[in-house]
Amino acid sequence: MRPLLALVRKEFASLFGAPTAYLTLTMVALVTAIIFFERLKVYNQILIVYATNTMGGFDTDTIPDHVNLWDTVFFPVMEALGVTLLAAIPIVTMRVFAEERARGTDELLVTTHLSPWQIVLAKFLVTYAFVALILAASFVYPAAAIEQGGLGIVHLAAVFTGLLLLGLGIASLGLVCSAFTSSQLVAAVSGWAAAFVFWDFGWSYSFLNESTASVLDRIALHPRFGAFSEGIVAVENVAYFGAIALVSMALARFSFDLRRVGN
């Protein structure tokens, strides 16, 4: 346990010792803020238009159902935050394993009391913690929308859980990509590619038969995340993201074995 904790501490020090972490954190918070206030502005403009047209103030009878905080602000912000995570997280994950390989410090790590599983676990845990931090910093805007929309704390918790699991899913894919290369650029690009491919397989219905497309759809990130946005925490969806994490850890662990026998 002590070697694992030592590596976790070192990983935090390395993560926050580089500007990438701060830039990513700032970028996601900033993009979310811009999108939130932009959508809020649009919502207010729509309200003003309706209020002006009907000359009846903000009586709910005068505003159509589809004009609400939920559809106009919350959902677009959640969509944007999801896509922002898609772009930002591979920037964080690219260095995690690839940098160790490039420096040769992976050789130092594996010739200590650390087992490959512990190395993988420490690196995944620290990355997951950082993703949670990114979301904590960015979630204030969707949270405000939910609060003003009167949906309550349970819904808020469901949405945050969904966002967190989505972030961890994207991070898992990025970490696997980082585990198989010594180039951070390759890790980032392949991380983005993997995340975009797994984001949504809706396009596959146009090219593949329905049963195949349906299977692909079930392993896509976006539809699973969508259910959380509705305030539903389904065990199936939680298990899906858990499976992504476990499979990714197993693949990252496998990368160590591959190096031992490598040609």
Binding site: R2, K10, T105, E107, L108
Partner: protein, 244 residues
């Protein structure tokens, strides 16, 4: 841990072979490294020294043959071997973003050291490798010579039975080379040190026995003075003469 059943051999290789694709990097190597000696593994670049080290540390698996390190197979029980070795890599592969003391504490931590034992080991290493004046500096801001001292310090931190030192003076200026050699010379007798180098003067100064590899094959083995003292030592690197 005993070096082997009798405690006399730290590393024992028999017909040890490693291939990368079709390329044979180590070819049926037979080698015994005696315990508590500084043993030189010589050879030009690409001779197979680093591959041999990686097999010893369990970082790579052999393609064929047997290898025992401190009486244990690193292929079958890498964790057991890795707990009892220290490793100084070719170029100082450190974490530049950490300060020297923090780096040493980290290295102690991942070797399962903690509490007062870790504090004492770090202080002892800082004193032994003369790192007191740079203990709070970032590793990236150190000279190469000091980086190599830090690398040596982390390898000896847990008082391992076997220390592997790969090209310790590579890339250092003459003064730094002398400093690092002085440090290595001061360690003789306490541990088994496997010193990999292509520097014959370094081998002469520091080792008691040497093995010479060329193209993955053992071409000479014996007491350093005998192997390197007989005729033109450089010929060992160049010619096809086999004195193993």
């Amino acid at each position: 841990m005993a070096a082997d059943a009798s405690g006399n051999t730290a590393i024992r290789a028999r017909a040890l072979t490693r291939r990368f694709g079709r390329r044979v990097v180590l070819d049926r190597l037979d080698l015994d490294v005696p315990a508590r000696t500084t043993y030189g593994l010589l050879g030009e670049n690409g001779a197979g020294k680093t591959t041999f080290i990686r097999l010893v540390t369990g970082f790579l698996l052999p393609s064929a043959g047997d290898l025992e390190v401190l009486g244990v197979s690193p292929a079958a029980q890498p964790g057991t071997v890795q707990r009892n070795i220290g490793f100084v890599m070719e170029t100082s592969r450190l974490y530049p973003e950490l300060r020297v003391q923090a780096f040493l504490r980290f290295c102690g931590g991942i070797r399962n050291m903690g509490g007062e034992a870790l504090d004492a080991a770090v202080e002892s290493a800082i004193e032994r490798f003369q790192l007191g004046s740079v203990r709070n500096r970032l590793v990236e801001n150190l000279s190469k010579g000091y980086q190599q001292r830090v690398s040596l310090a982390q390898a000896f931190l847990h008082d391992p039975a076997l220390v592997i030192v790969d090209e310790p003076t590579s890339g250092l200026d003459p003064v730094q080379q002398r400093d690092v050699r002085d440090v290595l010379a001061s360690l003789r007798g306490d541990h088994t040190v496997l010193l990999c180098t292509h520097d014959l003067h370094e081998a002469e100064a520091l080792t008691t026995r040497v093995a010479v590899l060329r193209s993955g094959r053992l071409i000479a083995e014996g007491p350093t003075a005998e192997v390197l003292g007989a005729g033109d030592a450089l010929a060992l690197f160049r010619s096809g003469e086999n004195r193993a």
